[in-house]
């Protein structure tokens, strides 16, 4: 064993399973003081799970954790705090109506009388020491995302943590804010703190970290010294070699432009750019794959087309078979369907958006068809037939049509959703992470269904996270990076590492504005 005095945490042979899925499989790595370690990996590669075991959110199924050379049992966030480990999660745990200082001292009991002045003074001390810009008396609801993040970091430092883990800290920051954060992290590094940042942005890895640990499919793929490596090497380790999946890919027939997106710019409610001047065309009879690190604007893109997301500028035009063009942007889903645009959407949030969990199969089929006819009564026969057909053709395993969909397995839920969306004979099919959480057989069923739609002449826009699938399924691949289109590739010729590089950096220009 490496008995380096600088090692703050040593994770050895860590294994964690969720049901039959191994989230982490025999992972070993060291975290050192006075160093910034990047933890790099694709979505679902087990980065956050691994760090959650240090933060006391999960307990490992196997392996051991040494903190400062001693074996540690971390069962709760409190245990982690006691060991000086603090983690800043992606979802901030802050009380909106309280000030920064109130949030920072929340839950501390052993400090006697409440003295906000003393607390504010200590906070100001921490801030000036590391270069944070924070007003202790500012209310959280008045803060930008980056200020909220600062509060979370100071909260951890206030509790004397010297091992800091940040889960994708830059995902919500502007480039300027990211620079500021990195400055602070460097100060903390000088102060001999051990810092881990979970990320999948290569240029950030190169800029900030000393070493980089790479995970792939829950396994440890390697440890690199940042200054001795390059983006291509890291990408290759992260995505691995291309795997043959043998997904059918019929050639597009009679492809014609169907959806034309031009200059689409979308901001989130807190003012962050989610889509930045996005332009592309989706053709009928073709699958347009959308690749990107999660949160690069995929959700906003699909929702904007579906009429669920207002945009700042740009246009989305629908071109029908006779070549007439209609604007979709600024219209709600009902207006779009009343215009005669048969648009189907398989959203990422299946039970929170696409389906109603407590309703049965028939009622869920009815979500799309309940307006049929002029009667005030709903027509149950039609959705009943659709449900029967979907159950039959997609081999949905369910006790019956009157079973609430919440009780079905993930794969069957997805079959119900996809089945309903294609039952309405769409001309455009939007699908987000259609096979997430599904087993191999169900996944292939879904690929088949999507291919059938393509052969019917539907314009399919497929957002995926598995590059191997995107490379074999898509006719063209649109790569999004931080809300921008970083490239549109031919699915038949694109290389995996090429896509991977486009996903993590904006082509050649990198992060320089």
């Amino acid at each position: 064993m490496d008995k380096d005095a600088n090692v703050a945490v040593s994770m050895q042979h860590i294994t964690k399973n969720f049901g039959p899925v191994a989230a982490n499989d025999d992972v070993s790595l060291d975290i050192r003081r006075g160093e910034i370690l990047s933890l790099l990996g694709e979505n679902g590669s087990g980065k956050t799970t691994l760090m959650n075991m240090l933060a006391g959110i999960y307990f490992p199924d196997g392996g051991q954790i040494l903190v400062n050379g001693k074996e540690a049992v971390i069962r709760s966030p409190r245990d982690a705090f006691d060991l000086g480990i603090g983690m800043i999660h992606q979802h901030y745990m802050l009380v909106d109506v309280m000030t920064a200082a109130e949030n920072i001292i929340l839950g501390l009991k052993n400090e006697g009388k409440l003295d906000m002045k003393a607390a504010a003074a200590r906070i100001t001390g921490i801030c000036s020491r590391y270069g944070f810009d924070l007003d202790p008396n500012q209310k959280i609801y008045d803060m930008s995302v980056s200020q909220k993040q600062t509060v979370e970091i100071v909260k951890v430092l206030y509790r004397n943590a010297d091992i800091l883990i940040l889960d994708e800290p830059t995902a919500v920051l502007t480039p300027q804010e990211t620079e500021k954060l990195f400055g602070v992290l460097r100060n903390m590094k000088k102060d001999n703190k051990a810092i881990v940042i979970i990320t999948h942005k290569l240029h950030e890895v190169e800029e900030i970290s000393d070493r980089v640990a790479i995970l792939r499919h829950g396994k440890f793929a390697g440890m690199l010294t940042t200054k001795d490596t390059n983006a291509q090497e890291m990408t290759n380790m992260m995505v691995g070699h291309a795997v043959q999946l043998n997904i059918r890919r019929p050639d597009p027939v009679n492809a014609r432009p169907r959806i034309k997106v031009e200059g689409l710019t979308v901001r989130s409610s807190d003012g962050l750019i989610k889509l930045d001047d996005v332009s592309f065309t989706a053709n009928s009879g073709e699958i347009l794959g959308v690749a990107g690190i999660s949160g690069s604007g995929q959700k906003e893109l699909l929702e904007a087309i579906a009429g669920l997301q207002p945009a700042e500028k740009g246009s989305i035009s629908y071109i029908n078979d006779s070549g007439e063009t209609e604007e979709l942007l600024g219209k709600d889903p009902l207006t779009i369907s009343n215009m005669g645009v048969a648009l189907s959407f398989v959203p990422e949030d299946r039970l929170g958006m696409g389906l109603v969990g407590s309703m049965d199969l028939v009622d869920n089929m009815m979500l799309r068809s309940f307006r049929r006819g002029s009667s005030i009564l709903t027509d149950r026969k039609f959705p009943h037939n659709v449900a029967e057909k979907v159950v039959d053709e997609l081999e949905v395993s369910t006790p019956g049509l009157s079973t609430p969909v919440r009780r079905l397995s993930g794969g069957n839920v997805q079959k119900v959703l996809v089945g309903r969306e294609i039952a309405s004979a769409p001309s455009v099919l939007l699908a987000a992470y259609a096979v997430r959480g599904l087993d191999i057989n169900s996944s292939y069923t879904i690929y088949d269904l999507i291919n059938q739609q393509k052969e019917r002449g539907v314009a399919v826009i497929y957002v995926g996270e598995d590059l191997d699938v995107l490379l074999e399924l898509s006719d063209r691949i649109l790569v999004l990076c931080e809300g921008k289109v970083s490239g549109i590739l031919d699915g038949r010729t694109a290389e995996k590492n090429e896509v991977g590089l486009l996903m993590t950096s904006l082509g050649g220009e990198d992060a320089d504005e």
Binding site: I57, Y58, P77, R78, M93, L94, V95, D96, V97, M98, E102, I105, L106, G107, K109, E111, K113, L114, K139, Y141
Partner: protein, 332 residues
């Protein structure tokens, strides 16, 4: 000329039960519990005190002993506290431990509590086999409403500020203390966090259930004392069924009107109390109907406040964010 010297004491008398009720409900709501059982709890608090005082007076009558001032005050007070506390515990057990719907639980408690008050109010004599014509606890009440000696010599000043029984001052002290605790102590900070965002409070190591139980139970006891004040001081110990009326709901209105601040409630309760009796002081001629419209004012004003705070959307003035929602930490 408007007669303030006579108006203010009556407004205060009307306002004090509301002040108790709203302070109790504010404390409760700060933990995220919307306790619609407050009207029932105030009935129970009043009736428990009445039962205690009634039994004490009956036992004195039987033994012929003189009344002991401490006993005359503490027996009803403790009975009232125990009664309201049990109601608070019941509410917490159902909504916190068993995660029942807060609205339904609260309304059931109000049905039960009002029923409890009116039932014993109407049946106490029969149940105890006493031979008195009505529940009139005048000698106990005299102890509750006793004002400081010499106040009557102080003229208008004495009448406006010093002419009340000790419970009235207790109400004001409790309101200010509650406001201080909520705003300036660690316990208050933690309690507000529980009501705003229980998941965050939980992750910060605050025991959410404990805070909900404590604030709701203490809030119930405070509210119950409002009922006790009403019957022992305001009505001079005479219980009449449904006499307490809808003051419990008015107390909940007051919580909104004061945007969850008990210190404002000290003045607002007197304002509400004043609106309640304003018709007596305004020349309306023979038109008695108008007085009913005056009684509507507190509710209308409250609705306006509710609309304005939601329109302005200023975060500090909103109801606690988790108000009415049960908290359940999913097992990880």
């Amino acid at each position: 000329m408007f007669n303030f010297v006579s108006f203010i004491p009556r407004a205060v008398g009307q306002g004090i039960p509301l002040l108790f009720g709203s302070t109790g409900e504010t404390l409760t709501e700060k933990s995220g519990n919307l306790n619609l059982g407050i009207p029932g709890i105030m009935y129970v608090g009043a009736m428990s005190g009445v039962i205690g005082a009634f039994l004490y007076e009956q036992s004195l009558k039987a033994s012929g002993a003189p009344m002991n001032t401490a006993a005359a005050i503490f027996i009803p007070l403790i009975c009232s506290i125990v009664g309201s506390l049990l109601m608070g515990l019941l509410y917490c057990f159902l909504t916190v431990t068993l995660r029942a719907n807060q609205n339904v639980t609260g309304l059931a408690m109000t049905t039960f509590g009002v029923g409890f008050g009116n039932f014993f109010g109407g049946s106490l004599i029969k149940l105890t086999g006493s031979d008195v014509p009505s529940v009139a606890l005048s000698s106990t009440s005299a102890r509750f409403s006793k004002m400081l000696p010499g106040v009557d010599k102080l003229g208008a000043f004495g009448k406006i500020f010093l002419s009340y029984g000790f419970l009235a001052y207790t109400a004001i002290v409790i309101a200010f203390v509650t406001a201080y605790i909520l705003a300036h102590t660690r316990v208050g900070l933690h309690l507000r966090a529980v009501g705003e965002n229980p998941a965050t409070a939980d992750s910060a190591g605050i025991n959410v259930s404990k805070y909900k139980y404590l604030s709701t139970c203490i809030g119930s006891v405070i509210a119950g004392m409002g009922g006790l004040y009403y019957v022992m001081d305001f009505t001079s110990g005479v219980w009449s069924n449904d006499g307490f009326g809808d003051r419990g709901w008015l107390a909940i209105a007051l919580v909104i009107f004061t945007i969850w601040r008990p210190n404002i409630s000290v003045f607002a309760s007197i304002l509400f109390g004043g609106l309640y009796i304003l018709y007596l002081y305004i020349p309306t001629g023979t038109n008695l109907a108008v007085k009913e419209l005056y009684k509507m004012l507190p509710y209308v004003v409250t609705i306006v406040v509710l609309i304005v705070i939601s329109m302005r959307d200023k975060k500090e003035n909103q109801p606690p964010a988790s108000l009415g929602l049960p908290y359940f930490r999913e097992e990880r």
